[in-house]
Symmetry: C2
Subunit: 315 residues, 2 copies
Amino acid sequence: MKENIITNLFSIKYPIIQAGMVWCSGWRLASAVSNAGGLGIIGSGSMRPNILKEHIQKCRKNTNHNFAVNLPLLFPYSSEHIDIIISEKVPIVFTSAGNPAIWTKKLQSNNVIVVHVISNLKFALKAIEAGVDALVCEGFEAGGHNGREETTTFCLIPLIKKSIGDIPLIAAGGISSGQSMLAAMVLGADGVQIGSRFVVSKESSAHMNFKNKILNSNDGDTVLTLKELTPVRMLKNKFYSRIEEAYLDNASKSDLKVLLGKGRAQKGMFLGDLSEGELEIGQVASMLNSIDSASDIIDEIIKEFNFEKKRLKQL
Amino acid sequence: MKENIITNLFSIKYPIIQAGMVWCSGWRLASAVSNAGGLGIIGSGSMRPNILKEHIQKCRKNTNHNFAVNLPLLFPYSSEHIDIIISEKVPIVFTSAGNPAIWTKKLQSNNVIVVHVISNLKFALKAIEAGVDALVCEGFEAGGHNGREETTTFCLIPLIKKSIGDIPLIAAGGISSGQSMLAAMVLGADGVQIGSRFVVSKESSAHMNFKNKILNSNDGDTVLTLKELTPVRMLKNKFYSRIEEAYLDNASKSDLKVLLGKGRAQKGMFLGDLSEGELEIGQVASMLNSIDSASDIIDEIIKEFNFEKKRLKQL
């Protein structure tokens, strides 16, 4: 693979970004991905400030390469997290779920590269206006928190590329292989963000119950739900059946909030409670069938990417 | 473009299939697409038997190339339509929305090539068992009637390809350009089915009001709704607001049926009532900005396809 606008921006070998994911992507996964030539991201959305600091320091000890922190801007600790990111000299931040105008300039003036996650054209234009350095365009098929417009990767990437032009563009949602990476780049992406595949990596801190549930899942087993709160894609389980029942009972927004409660993502993804936990994962879960190291995943993706490039010549 | 398993199966120049669409794709569009090197399809779902017969005969008069008829198997006239398809010696049928086991053998024993539209792996396996000659794999982003699992083109195509292997595979949903055509083929498709882009073609029988509404639409303007009846993707309008209200009022399935009533697709798409009609279109509507002839559309797609293939070498 040749260098491009994304590998140059992040000083990495391959334009493969491991998504920052609550309860799954701590220092161990992030450093492994960065060591393998991609960009590892610490998912700070499940960390208190002291825990984030620890993960950043451990990540730095375990890789000489660049890594990033993912920061949901509506997260209660986001202001403290930003202070830590700056004082620990984290080189790159991926912001999501909030207004990029609030923190982008402060981060950039402290030499932090800022990437913002969007799911529609309106938010992309806002992020550009805020001066972000790159965009992650996340399609409907992606796991975890997601946009309300339900625009898929296949429709979102060309639309943003056509409307915005030359800002570095990272595709997310539905990508787990070199084949899907190449397809995303055909659609106009300069790089890809991969979540689900790294949830089932060896270095992911996801509970083994959750990893096995993913490996055994089929198409149609995930659903984007709780749109009245924050839309989230997760595996259907007993907890989801209760959400379905609540909808049938015409539940209000506050009923849904009570049902969701607190700590469900931790319960499901980190503690392995497959019945009552929230199991955030993308549609691509049905394609996954082995637990590999981050390094083997990236090597395989690059091999597939190059194979597909050659195959295409015959079309 | 080189010939492949799809161009050989249908005896066409390019693996581009124009989707059979109610109220939009009669003989005029189908023959124009077939004359331009693709496969035109007459959408029989909005036609009574005598009208279908007329469209088949006119299509044949206007092209020497192969064309097809799309047949929703649950349609009230499907049995009469099949008799007409056989007696008129239509060479190819695309079946959807129903059990392919019922008609596939009869059609094939009358020298009709049978293609079946699926939206998940389970239905793909059923179609293979029924002996169909090819599959259309339709993603969540596609317009009109659609699957319940909400699996997107980006996730559906590689899954079906990996699980089923060498049956000719046509991707549908989110495809409107040579770029998206190439991306679909990277994901494992042998050809593409394009709907929305042909709805706004010169030869489409869609009402000009509907065409203009599509050209002015943005991302997020379509929605997959009425999942309790037959899921359908359409543009949001006054009629959709009433569906939303009905959901908020906890409408039953029969309430929704009453609200839908009869003739809404005709009203919106054919008669141009943008408020009360059902305006079926895909997410890719937001990418469309001109009304071109079918021949110009296909030429442009092929040009873009070849341009993208060259660009890929630089990745």
